[in-house]
């Protein structure tokens, strides 16, 4: 997933989850009443007069500010063009809250028809038997063709067993940001970012500033590791040529020597090379540390691009993550899912809405308002996007990196399996276990969890 999204997911987890459950319960009650009323109304009138299709649509907001307004604006735009469809767009909190709410509502017999949920939660939703593939509602050749118009990297987390369960919408990927002034000061070319792991270390060594007491005033690089360290770590693993989980989502490769090597590299940054702060590094404070000059480079989501653009008091650059065996990064963020329990009419309307909102004009509006990567090449071909990228070329880095990007770690019982990996990473980063010990234990635990899905 991306950026501030996760920070907030973590931040608000407790308060919002509770609030969301309450709201969920209330909404459930309300809509049960509504259903009862509509049902009665229907028995009195004839079926012919029932025309309007009602859709309930949950969406998470993870990057503050304009995202919620833009969703409302877009759904209103769709409804005025399609007066026979009514969309009730429900803000459902963070990603974590949204999936919790969708699962709870479905168990209570009142699922939404459509929801944006983490692409990595696909297997969980299949396992809970809550979602239905889009394929059944894409009948014409033209509609089937539409599926092929997304970046393949985004579709990896959206398809399994030959079916398409998710349509990419608010998607992101991590990139490297660097402080050009700090580079100049350290005698480095301010226009060139490190392209390899070794370069990242050697650049960082020059960039790390220590005072007479040995206290560091500026670190070379910052790869945050709080909350969900697996996401950025996955970037390192992919760069080293490893894949963390198979496409079926029932087997992980945490103890692959290449994965171990990637973790050793991450740990070495703070212990051996001493160019990154030791211990767990807070995700949420990372952009701030970058602005304050605490670090000369940082890894974080493209979702922070607008934030950095508006707040960095210096010139900054954005680059793809450095390579070891190859370039690489995970994707992240949310997909559209269709929920079971709706009528065919509703799902047809929902699919039509998804097609509309991912079309170039709407998608461009969304990308410019939020910083999410537009999921279809066609969007980048529009005049508005071309003009936007001209004035702000950094936005193109994330798009170009998609050629090297792989699916975000996603398995059955995803949260539990990633939780196991997160604990292992934290144990290695804080020096309680070696990379190899931590990862082979994690692999054993993941095997035990996933055995029943093979």
């Amino acid at each position: 997933m991306s950026c501030a999204e996760k920070a907030q997911a973590v931040c608000w987890a407790s308060s919002q989850a509770r609030r969301c459950f309450n709201e969920g319960r209330f909404a459930m009650l309300k809509s049960t009443l509504l259903t009862a009323v509509t049902a009665t109304a229907l028995t009195f009138s004839t079926w012919a007069t029932a025309q309007a299709v009602d859709l309930q649509f949950y969406f998470p907001v993870a990057v503050g500010g304009k995202a919620a307004d833009t969703i409302k604006e877009l759904t209103d735009g769709y409804m005025s063009a399609n007066p026979d469809v009514k969309i009730d767009a429900v803000y459902a909190g963070s990603y974590q809250d949204t999936v919790a709410k969708a699962i709870t509502a479905s168990r209570g017999g009142n699922p939404p028809q459509l929801s944006v949920i983490l692409s990595a939660d696909m297997f969980t939703l299949i396992d809970e038997d809550l979602i239905t593939p889009f394929d059944d509602y894409l009948t014409t050749d033209e509609e089937k063709e539409w599926l092929t118009g997304f970046y393949p990297a985004f579709m990896e987390n959206s398809q399994t067993g030959g079916k398409t369960y998710g349509i990419p919408f608010q998607r992101s990927t991590p990139v490297l940001y660097w402080n050009k002034e700090a580079f100049k000061e350290a005698g480095l070319d301010p226009e060139v970012a490190p392209a390899t792991w070794d370069e990242m270390v050697s650049f960082s060594e020059k960039l790390t500033k220590k005072d007479a007491n040995g206290n560091v005033s500026q670190w070379g690089v910052r790869i945050p590791s709080s909350g969900f360290p697996y996401w950025l770590f996955q970037g390192l693993a992919i760069e080293n040529g490893a894949i963390l989980a198979n496409a079926e989502g029932n087997k992980t490769n945490f103890d692959d020597p290449k994965v171990v090597e990637a973790l050793e590299y991450l740990v070495d940054l703070s212990t051996k090379h001493e160019v990154m702060a030791p211990g767990i590094i807070e995700w949420g404070a990372t952009p701030k540390a970058f602005f304050e000059g605490q670090t000369a480079m940082m890894w974080t989501s493209t979702g922070n691009l607008t934030n950095v653009h508006d707040n960095a008091p210096f010139d900054f650059g954005v680059a793809m993550l450095p390579e070891k065996a190859q370039r690489g990064a995970p994707t992240g963020g949310g997909n559209f899912y269709l929920f079971k329990g709706a009528s065919d009419e509703q799902l047809d309307a929902a699919v039509d809405f998804v097609q509309w909102i991912t079309a170039p004009d709407q998608s461009a509006k969304w990308t410019m308002a939020t910083g999410y990567v537009a999921p279809r090449p066609a969007t980048w071909e529009t005049d508005t996007m071309k003009k936007y990228a001209e004035g702000f070329p950094q936005v193109l880095v994330a798009r170009d990196q998609l050629d090297h990007a792989k699916a975000e770690l996603a398995t059955y019982q995803n949260q539990r399996v990633t939780g196991v990996l997160n604990d292992a990473l934290a144990a290695a980063i804080t020096g309680q276990k070696t990379a190899e010990e931590a990862l082979s234990e994690a692999q054993k635990q993941a095997d035990a969890i996933l055995a029943e899905y093979r």
């Binding site: 973590v10 931040c11 206290n215 560091v216 590791s225 030791p278 767990i280 807070e282 539990r416």
Partner: protein, 294 residues
């Protein structure tokens, strides 16, 4: 005639109890019983219904290293928060009970942490603890001390959480002590003063024993709170690094609503319930007899 009246009283009695009972049953007793029942079943998934496991979930709990770790953390958390916040509460209450200039302001200042929502408090402390440019590191930096990753190291994470909890709780307990102090008859203290007792003796021989019922009440609350207050953990550390700062309730929430393992979460809940029941019974039966000053 008499029997009829008795019957009517009986009905009215139950009717008066009914509203409270409905809520108690709906939100406390029935969920507790369903948790107990679910703890013997596997977690139902959409494609697989729950199946009866017997004691498998309990076996898993006893074999689960994370469970023992969070239990150990909780014990340390209790030892760290309960005595400290109670001692601090008594000191603060004694201080603001005296006539001193700006007493109202001091009382308000001590009570403010209680009024603030825990989530907001945690966000403020998150900034205090930030390595490098957080408040603590800026202060320590003035003395040339290096930056410390308070929340990001397993050694300091839980203690940092304890400090926030004590800060948050002490003001709340102070209010109870303040009320109790004002209920202590002045004559007792005056009599002691005439006898020539110093302040120290007065506190240990008169004030402290008379505060015992309050201490019992406050300590029960403190014990419950140390199992109940986990909101700030979500923000400060998210249980990390490697569960170093996770408490039992946090682990239950994580298991139930992040991992969606409601069966196992129910088992953990039963464990928590049993522990809380034992603690409450113990406190009432063993201490209640000793607290009243005679």
């Amino acid at each position: 005639m008499k029997a009829l009246k008795l019957k009517r009283d009986w009905i009215i009695g139950w009717l008066l109890l009914l509203p409270a009972m409905v809520f108690l049953f709906a939100f406390t007793h029935i969920p507790a019983i369903t948790s107990l029942v679910s703890s013997f079943y596997s977690t139902p998934r959409g494609r697989r219904p729950a199946k009866f496991l017997g004691l498998d979930n309990y076996q898993r709990m006893f074999d689960d290293p994370v469970f023992w770790k969070v239990l150990g953390n909780n014990l340390w958390f209790a030892l760290g928060t309960i005595p400290l916040s109670i001692a601090l509460a008594i000191v603060m209450a004694l201080w603001v009970n005296d006539k001193l200039p700006g007493r109202g302001f001091a009382r308000m200042a001590f009570f403010t942490p209680t009024v603030l929502p825990l989530i907001a408090v945690a966000n403020i402390w998150l900034f205090f603890y930030t390595p490098g440019f957080g408040l603590f590191d800026q202060l320590l930096g003035l003395f040339g001390l290096p930056a410390t990753n308070w929340l990001g190291s397993p050694e300091t994470a839980l203690n940092s959480v304890i400090v926030v909890t004590v800060w948050k709780e002490a003001g709340f307990f102070m209010i109870f002590y303040l009320a109790a102090l004002q209920a202590i008859p002045k004559t007792l203290i005056e009599a002691a003063q005439i006898e020539g007792a110093n302040r120290w003796t007065i506190f240990w021989r008169i004030t402290f024993p008379l505060l015992m019922p309050t201490t019992l009440f406050v300590s029960i609350n403190a014990v419950i709170n140390c199992f109940r207050l986990v909101d700030h953990i979500f923000i400060l550390t998210d249980g990390g690094p490697d569960n170093a700062s996770a408490l039992l309730l946090f682990y239950i929430f994580e298991t139930a609503f992040r991992f969606w393992e409601s069966g196992y979460a129910a088992t953990l809940t039963v464990a928590l319930l049993v522990m809380l029941c034992l603690l409450a019974i113990g406190q009432f039966f063993f201490f209640d007899r000793k607290v009243h000053y005679k």
